[in-house]
């Protein structure tokens, strides 16, 4: 269920992996100067050619021989106060993307501009000072809370560390955050193990939002929850977005949830983004064959409405030896000869609808 690439160690900030020098990885060696193209002033976050490779096989001296291309040349931008949904199946690199954007894993290449600053080039101390503004909510509410710490301390510790509120007002502030996330006051001194999944996820949200962030990566925040609780959490996330003017990246494999919460949707397949458009566009007229198949596969809770299924044959190829050309050609129903050799360009086909597919004119 979880992203298989997650099994790679998430590097903590203090122990960063040595950067592997990659042939052809442009951008990594660029100087800390102004970006080549001017940044979109409306965008809070702009990601350009982001790459994250994990060494899959190493030789005797620890030099990597092959890579898992978890995130392979992904570019997008998010305007302030909007939500970008990232969909894709397990192993497509969506979780890695979320973590790389927050520099929880160091990027192999590419730039991430948050508020005009390339966070890949920030020093550790600068990054730590920036961290409260960029938060993450995880999928599994059971493992994302420190088990031996009372709820109040979990929520308050980072607030205290970053001195966001005066020490004397800390407790009051935490209680206020808890209240706005729908947590009763008396949870303050209780421990995470006493709560159900939905309550824990509320605690996780309170923990992230207590830092007054501007940007939150929601990594499958409702996948582990019951249906009736999912709706509560989605509504809470939406309310908080309105109240605090948050910008979200909402990662999920559940298309209906993504459609509900997102303004824009990006579809990922084996580390690459194959389609990116506004929610209405992409759900009304999906252009990429993978997007089409993915959307048609979602079961509809209506016994009379059986959608025309496009059943994809076969399984997702291993990301270690991703297929050449278009990565999707092994399962595609419209596969042409060119697809097997040349990777299609990620191009705008009007109205910001970006697709990477040879079915559409490449020039």
């Amino acid at each position: 269920m979880s992203d298989i690439l997650l099994e790679e160690k998430p590097e903590s900030e203090q122990v960063q992996a040595p950067e592997y020098e990659l042939a052809g990885a442009e951008g990594a060696a660029e100087e800390a100067t102004a970006p080549a193209e001017p940044l979109d002033p409306n965008a809070l976050l702009e990601v350009r050619h982001l790459k994250k490779y994990f060494p899959a096989k190493k030789n005797f001296f620890g030099k990597p021989l092959s890579f898992v291309k978890a995130v392979d040349d992904v570019s997008f931008k998010i305007a302030k106060g909007t939500t970008l949904g990232i969909v894709g199946e397990s192993g497509c690199g969506k979780t890695t993307l979320g973590r790389t954007i927050l520099r929880l894993q160091s990027a192999t290449g590419g730039e991430i501009y948050f508020d005009g600053k390339d966070i890949n080039k920030l020093k550790t101390a600068e990054m730590n000072a920036l961290r409260p503004q960029m938060q993450i909510i995880f999928q599994d509410p059971y493992s994302s809370l420190s088990p031996r710490m009372p709820v109040g301390e979990i929520i308050g510790e980072a607030v205290a560390q970053h001195k966001l509120v005066p020490k004397a007002e800390l407790k009051e502030y935490v209680l206020e955050v808890m209240k706005s996330c729908g947590l009763p006051y008396h949870y303050y001194e209780r421990y995470p193990h006493e709560f159900s999944g939905g309550q824990r996820q509320r605690i996780c949200i309170a923990t992230a939002l207590a830092l007054k962030p501007r940007f939150v990566v929601c990594d499958e925040p409702v996948s582990a929850l019951d249906v009736s609780i999912q709706a509560q959490i989605i509504n809470l996330l939406k309310d908080m977005q309105e109240k605090m003017g948050l910008t979200y990246i909402f990662i999920s494999h559940d298309l209906s949830v993504v459609e509900h919460i997102s303004n824009y949707v990006g579809v990922m397949y084996l580390g690459s983004m194959v389609e990116y458009a506004s929610t209405e566009d992409i759900f009304d007229k999906p252009m990429h064959p993978y997007t089409e198949a993915l959307f048609s596969a979602v079961p509809i809770p209506d016994p009379d409405r059986h959608s025309q299924r496009i059943i994809l044959s076969g399984d997702i190829p291993s990301p270690i030896n991703a297929p050449s050309g278009c990565k999707f050609h092994t399962r595609c129903n419209h596969c042409m000869d060119i697809c097997k050799e040349v990777a299609p360009k990620f191009k705008d086909y009007g109205n910001g609808h970006m697709v990477a597919c040879h079915l559409y004119p490449q020039d």
Partner: protein
């Protein structure tokens, strides 16, 4: 009778808890040492009794032979009670569940985690984790064709002949439900050899045929693979092949697609539908995904906190849901291409089935609550021949049909 006795001790201890609660205001969400000792004592007593009953050897066949209410049903759950004796008290995981699975039909059981849907299926296989979990009352009638057995009373050696052969199970996690140290072929053959007594060659031929049946392209190659060499979808296909290998009359699919990706889920659901046609068996499909139910099931059973709250055909449940929980469940799930500004949500949490009071369990989350809801737990109301609901809102309309539980 036994079960009544247990009930009494339970209510006693909960009374004791009530007194304690007012005494210790500060920490009232924790059990006091005395209460937990009482719980442990009554648990130990109950567990000992049930285990003793199970250990009786040579149970006469007449004890567990029974008669089906309707010969067209493959399984009839009748007022089934399965309890777990936990440290926090007796968890009534399944508390008076009554429904039946007709021959050749797919029955979907929906509910949230902890509602008892998995425990119901495990009770049917007698796989409830003992000694904490015990079937304490009710019966599960299983139609063997010429006769019917009550699984709740069956001794374990007799049960082994039914497991796998008559009732097969597909689990949620294809990654862990295959033994990693044996080849796929061995695990398939094992099942056939155990239940049919054919030769090894015949078993192999049969296994490869089964792999073909579940749509595996290279069955010979997969036959000699180890589980880790296969992807999740392939493993789930193998699990289905194993389940099918003895021509079971009933397949229990416990969240068969939850752990799979959407595109793979579509493949597996297609396969399950196809196979049901081929083998002419019944499927008990347990899931929390209403979409899957809508596509697969003929009948739907909605469970909440260990009880069935609504049953009916799929059309009835989806087009005319009656219980406020069923309605809320359907409204709270966003649907692709059905734009809503704000999702409906059922407030509150899924209850933990310990120390449940005797009124509608959904009362505190319900927005259609009426005065009557404070009374005892509502009986079933028969709305149509196939549609039953347990809610006071519909009591007058079908009162005459709702007398039998």
């Amino acid at each position: 009778m036994l079960f009544k006795k247990q009930d009494k001790t339970q209510s006693e201890s909960s009374e004791g808890a009530e007194v304690k609660k007012s005494a210790h205001k500060g920490n009232s969400h924790y059990l006091s040492a005395k209460e937990s000792r009482e719980i442990a004592k009554s648990n130990a007593r109950a567990m000992r009794e049930y285990e003793k009953k199970k250990r009786v050897k040579h149970v006469d066949e007449s004890v567990y032979t029974c008669k089906m209410q309707d010969e067209n049903n493959i399984v009839e759950f009748d007022d089934l009670h399965t309890y777990f004796f936990t440290d926090a008290g007796v968890a009534k995981a399944v508390d008076g569940v009554t429904f039946s699975i007709p021959k050749g039909a797919t029955v979907g059981v929906v509910g949230e985690s902890g509602c008892g849907k998995s425990v119901t299926s495990l009770s049917l296989m007698q796989l409830v984790q003992a000694p904490q979990g015990q079937i304490v009352g009710g019966s599960i009638r299983f139609n063997m064709g010429d006769k019917a057995y009550d699984i709740a009373k069956m001794p374990i050696n007799e049960m082994r002949k039914i497991r796998g052969k008559q009732i097969a199970m597909i689990f949620q996690e294809p990654m862990t439900s295959l033994n990693p140290v044996f080849r796929i072929g061995y695990q398939l053959d094992e099942m056939v050899l155990l239940h049919t007594g054919c030769t090894k060659e015949e078993a192999k031929a049969h296994s490869i045929e089964m792999l073909k049946l579940v749509g595996i392209a290279a069955p010979e190659r997969v036959y000699s693979c180890y589980p880790h060499e296969l992807s999740g979808g392939m493993r789930q296909r193998v699990m289905i092949a194993i389940a099918l290998s003895c021509d079971p009359r009933l397949i229990i699919a416990d969240e068969p697609t939850t752990a799979l990706d959407v595109t793979i889920q579509a493949q597996i659901l297609d396969l399950l539908r196809e196979i049901k046609q081929k083998i002419d068996g019944s499927i008990m499909l347990i899931t929390h995904d209403l979409g899957v139910i809508a596509e697969m099931a003929d009948y739907v059973v909605v469970m909440y906190a260990g009880r069935v709250i609504e049953t009916g055909t799929t059309e009835e449940i989806f087009h005319n849901p009656l219980h406020p929980y069923t309605i809320g469940l359907q409204k709270s799930k966003p649907v692709v291409k059905r734009k809503v500004d704000r999702l409906y949500n059922i407030p509150g949490q899924v209850p933990n089935p310990i120390d449940m009071p005797n009124f509608c369990y959904f009362k505190d989350r319900c927005d259609k609550c009426i005065d009557k809801c404070n009374g005892e737990y509502p009986h079933f109301v028969q709305v149509s021949p196939t549609h039953r609901v347990s809610c006071y809102l519909y009591e007058e309309k079908g009162a005459e049909g709702g007398s039998n539980e």
